[in-house]
Symmetry: C2
Subunit: 514 residues, 2 copies
């Protein structure tokens, strides 16, 4: 066997069984080895940002890493934005970055670049497997590193000769670390601080927003505590039967108004909240002045155990509140808006669906009615690099073939990684992509005012507007091989979305919104 075979054997031996790939010449040995390793599922992505976003979606759902296969520095570069989002989601991913043969690097051939430096900012771990005999052990190390906790990207550079040379080191075992529970004294200190506080808030993030942790957090709510989550959460269940905490507001001044008078914030699997952007004369840190802070669990610790122990220490009820099932009775009518689309989505979203949310200004309109929809999971844009929605859907669809996947995308966001549509079609994923087409970077029209930049004139307007020419999303989707429909009214959308949920397979809906 060669180094590429050892890499794949190590991957599948450690439950890494999906590969989101865009290979080139230096990755041909890996590609050939796939034919000898049927347990690895290769998924071709026509742009690396789709591959890395798909690996993020896969990891959030499967809770184990997928691998990506990327072509030297430029291939990795194309994947950077969605790896940034994955870093903020703490998603385990193993990047395989092909490189020139070790002896060829010195000649600085045209595709040569400084891959380790490029990979460092978004990787927990970067190493190059320079010999075939190193591949299995380093691949296992990469898998181990990707789990964290908390998780993240590990980047394994694979020179072409390490892939093609023979080796007898077939495989190695990765460690899957567990999160330690917080010490009893730490839990007691939090309980004591909570008892002493006049107006405390418990803030959840990351693992503390998953189903098991939310059930424990609900007990704190039943005990009378205010519980909130970070604004953007990697994965969180929502809908009937699930506890629904409050959420940190996006804009800093709104967040601080919401937290007015709060004298204690307890962090569970998260850190001090900060404003997404700075604005002249507005706050960066979103804890009220004079508010004390205390950590129940770090991101590396077991928030489920921490929340359960805290609930016990406080003598909280064994169960907390959950959302009722309350789908909107009436189909939406009239003009199509994010709100009316949200009503249709809440009416028809099937149980167990996974929403991949990259819908920016349209997102709020959907979230509200979905609070009491059938239970589903939501994957949010964690790192602020738009273009995550459809790639996340590719990965979620591969990880959860029995779930309906719904990608909700802004039009500006969807354009970044529009090639994801092709992978949805090729893999015949049970995925509906909704693009909210307002023909604008709407958020920037809002942000421009907030940064004190005044109203946009002709040059500025040109950089915020997507409507000239109008993107014809139905043509775009058909070009990528997806069935597609354009909706201009709420009735259109209700019909299209209901139809998409009733069938199995790929579907694209353009929702024309103001």
């Amino acid at each position: 066997m060669n180094g590429a075979d050892a890499l794949l054997e190590t991957f599948v031996d450690n439950d890494v069984t999906a590969c989101f790939a865009n290979p080139g010449t230096s990755e041909m040995q890996f590609v050939a080895a796939l034919d000898r390793q049927p347990k690895m599922r290769p998924v071709l992505c026509l742009f690396e940002g789709v591959a890395t976003g798909a690996a993020d979606g896969y990891g959030r759902i499967a809770e184990r890493p997928a691998c990506t296969l990327l072509h030297l520095g430029p291939g990795y570069g194309n994947g950077v934005a969605n790896l940034h989002n994955a870093r903020r989601a703490f998603t385990p991913i193993v990047n395989v970055i092909g490189d020139h043969a070790t002896y060829h690097r010195q000649y600085d051939a045209p595709l040569n670049s400084d891959i380790p430096t490029l990979a460092r900012p978004n990787s927990l771990w970067v190493k190059s497997a320079d010999r075939a005999d190193d591949v299995a052990a380093l691949a296992a190390d990469a898998i181990s590193a990707s789990y964290g906790p908390p998780g993240g990207s590990a980047s394994l550079i694979l020179p072409a000769d390490a892939a093609w040379n023979e080796t007898t080191r077939r495989t190695a075992k990765a460690r899957v670390p567990t999160r330690p529970a917080p010490a009893g004294e730490a839990v007691d200190a939090v309980a004591k601080a909570l008892r002493a506080a006049a107006k405390p808030v418990v803030l959840l993030g990351g693992q503390a927003c998953r189903a098991e942790a939310l059930a424990q957090a609900a007990r704190l709510a039943a005990h009378g505590l205010r519980v909130m989550t970070d604004t953007f959460v990697a994965r969180q269940p929502r809908g009937a039967g699930i506890y629904s905490p409050g959420r940190m507001q996006y804009f800093g001044e709104a967040a601080l108004a919401d937290l007015e008078g709060v004298d204690l914030m307890v962090f569970v699997g998260t850190v001090t909240p900060v404003a997404f952007f700075a604005y002249p004369g507005r706050p960066s840190v979103l804890t009220p002045e004079g508010c004390e802070t205390i950590v129940l669990t770090t991101r590396a610790e077991d928030s489920v155990a921490g929340l359960a122990a805290l609930a016990e220490a406080l003598g909280a009820p064994a169960q907390g509140p959950v959302q009722p099932l309350k789908r909107p009775d009436a189909a939406p009518a009239g003009g199509l808006t994010a709100q009316s689309a949200g009503v249709a989505i809440a009416r028809h979203l099937p149980e167990g669906a996974i929403i991949c949310d990259d819908s920016v200004t349209s997102g709020g309109g959907v979230a509200v009615p979905c609070m009491t929809a059938a239970p589903h999971e939501v994957l949010a844009l964690t790192g602020g690099a738009i273009g995550a929605g459809a790639p996340l859907a590719v990965g979620a669809g591969v990880a959860a073939p029995d779930s309906k996947i719904v990608a909700l995308c802004g039009d500006g966001a969807a354009m970044y990684t529009v090639q994801a549509l092709w992978s949805i079609a090729r893999e015949n994923l049970d995925c509906t992509v909704v693009v909210f087409a307002n023909s604008s970077y709407r958020i920037l029209n809002i942000e421009m005012g907030r940064t004190g930049s005044g109203n946009p004139g002709p040059s500025a307007s040109k950089l915020l507007d997507l409507g000239d020419p109008r993107i014809d999303w139905v043509s775009m989707a058909k070009g990528h091989g997806l069935p597609a429909v354009r909706c201009e009214t709420a009735e259109d959308f209700e019909k299209a979305f209901a139809g998409a949920m009733a069938q199995k397979g790929p579907m694209f809906i353009e929702a024309v919104v103001p």
Copy 2:
């Protein structure tokens, strides 16, 4: 005026007058300042890889930098692949990378990342303008740095507060360095070595492949010397009235066979040629065994002066050979191939056209008949990161509004940066995009055999094939707002291409080739 105003004033004062942009919140001050600086032309790109590729195309044609406007680390990341190509083309570019306000960085907000590290591998120069008072001076330094020689990217990080704070330092002057001519002794040494050699080759690269240098190189050919160019050249004129040197073969063994017996290689504006990729048992360095090498000019030196001095030292004729005008008489007929498309292109390409070539396996078929077409310029894929063609065309079109721009793209390559089509439509560029649709990463089918990986089986084939589903390029182009036509025969293509050349404005042609 604020820092953003100072930045724009410094840019336009130093002839940086085009901005390829995809802004976000942290860049709103720059966007607002554009309304106060009408000499700067903003061009919205819906993905940053389009913006950086466009800046590359602009710089190659205008011979001065454009600026890009990119949104923090992820925005820069999306631009990395085409900045890699620009690095290999030595194109002057100034990247403006927006960042959080300086005081906000410490809080590690979601979009925060290590921008300087990310930018280093593809930048000649990276600095952050942390105060409004620094902006003008650092912008001038960035412009100076981008010129080299040889040129490249300079990356100026612009924190939001440096953009919004007031300053009185309005502008600063950049230096535009000149390339020094080689010393007389160096020229004499090359002349002496050439006289002593039995079978010498003069190899041109970079600046030595521009029009003025080629005219001098032709004198060496007239003197009996064999003159060649690098395989991939940033910008080179071609066609009637222009000297056409040979070209280094792409595959190493073919290159060495072509150079058999060569005992001296003289490098002019380039370095020792190396294989694009390594393959088991095949050579990396493409100089024949025992061949001597000598440098006439480095990439930083003046190759026009060097070639002229060498021609004088050798007593070469005052003029050398040029290509005749010999367009194919007959329109191509029958099945459409890259070759028959090439005949149509050579027949109808207007004088002064600019070809942006990202056509991979289809490129050779076009190049041969264009050797005697009307004189035109060719911008090649210098760094091997596919997805450069249509973005280069955006930039070339902005730099040369009176020239016909023709982008030749492989289908796999075009998908990488397909959003470029929208900018071509929005800017109403006089640009025809031809996509050669063979529904495959054809080059990889060839490379797979060469790397000794055997024939592709089911998994491998899945990673090389683009045909399931078939990309409907006409729908894709229409989705982006371009008129589009699909050609399946040589007659179709002849008609479509002739029509595109006869009109002014954007056009898209899908060329279905085997």
